[in-house]
Symmetry: C2
Subunit: 217 residues, 2 copies
């Protein structure tokens, strides 16, 4: 528990206030979409005044861009790019990442924050679109870099084009996010994980010890 | 050109009025989303009165459900299921369908009407979600049936699970719709088509004459 003094100090710390607003706004946008997100809901969740919100973000759009740059951009970085940089075999790392997909009903029903915003805002607002495109490109480039490393180490097939294979993986992954979200059914994701993992195994260099070439029936 | 008499007759034909409202509403929803769609825009595009709109559809929601059932549901049926039923080799038919994807900037930027509505409305409205799920299921079942036929004819690998392979194809296809829409770049679809077609070729029964097993570099 914070005492009254600490609580006041915390509320007065501008960087903390900004962070709390950003996190509450992210949750509200995830729940209701950007256009449907209520500033009043965000203020109520944080106990911050409207004046303070406008002091930090100037407009709802600026708040939205900050969500994209500071929260959404971190998601593929944390879940995909950091594990890929740890030096493990890239196909093993990708299989681990895909298998770690949350199939909790809340996450399945909410979908992917990046896709939700891209679907809603990219056709309407070029500022959103460009920022979201940068995230997709960084995600793709991170996977492509790992695949390229695997090619030079002899664990990944040399005949595949790393950038294209990376975009293919992102497409199938986001496609399953969408199917599972619409079905509101985590089982769709279980099928998705099995299929994507099966496909990832076909990216191994034939003859590599990890590539058993077994197929499940 | 219609003369004044014909025009009046056409306006008075209730089924034509209903159809014109439905088509105009579909276009407006495709452009602005369901929540953003303006009834006034639909009325202005059709020259129909608000009273006539409510006579035919009762509410904006009922109009939305009719769009899903009468227009959106026909899209995978026309583009995917009908060609698959023509008795051709199913892998050849699927390759033709994927290669026929429109890469016109207008279509790339607009995305897929089914996905757009699923993303926007499924979390908000169970009536939308169920209707859209029926479409996804019918699409999946149509592809699965064709794959099953291919398995019994010896052209499709027997070790794959038709329903799962069908959902995988839909996921990767819709994933590329999303990536291309966000990039606003038809080139993303060219890569997508190449990758999906490459994957479709791996579904052929090994040893089948069509399966050259060549991979592009």
């Amino acid at each position: 528990m914070l005492n009254a003094h600490d609580r006041k100090r915390r509320l007065r710390d501008p960087q903390r206030t900004r962070q709390r607003l950003l996190q509450a706004a992210f949750r509200e946008v995830y729940r209701s979409g950007f256009q449907g997100a209520g500033l009043d809901t965000i203020l109520a969740a944080t106990g911050v005044t409207k004046g303070a919100l406008y002091y930090h973000f100037g407009s709802k759009e600026v708040l939205g861009y900050a969500i994209v740059e500071e929260i959404v951009a971190a998601l593929p970085r944390d879940k995909w790019l950091r594990p890929l940089q740890e030096g493990k075999d890239p196909i093993d790392a990708l299989i681990d990442i895909v298998q770690a997909t949350s199939v909790r009903p809340k996450d399945v029903q909410g979908g992917c924050p990046l896709v939700n915003l891209a679907q809603e805002m990219s056709p309407l607002d070029e500022q959103f679109r460009k920022r979201l495109e940068r995230i997709f490109n960084g995600w793709q480039e991170g996977i492509a870099t790992a695949l390229r490393r695997g090619q030079s180490q002899g664990t990944v097939r040399r005949d595949l084009v790393p950038e294209e294979t990376a975009s293919f993986l992102i497409a199938m992954y986001e496609g399953y996010v969408l199917l599972a979200k619409n079905a509101q059914d985590p089982k769709v994701w279980n099928v998705g994980i099995r299929n994507i993992v099966g496909w990832l195994r076909t990216l191994r260099e034939p003859g590599h010890p990890r590539n058993g070439r077994r197929r499940s029936g």
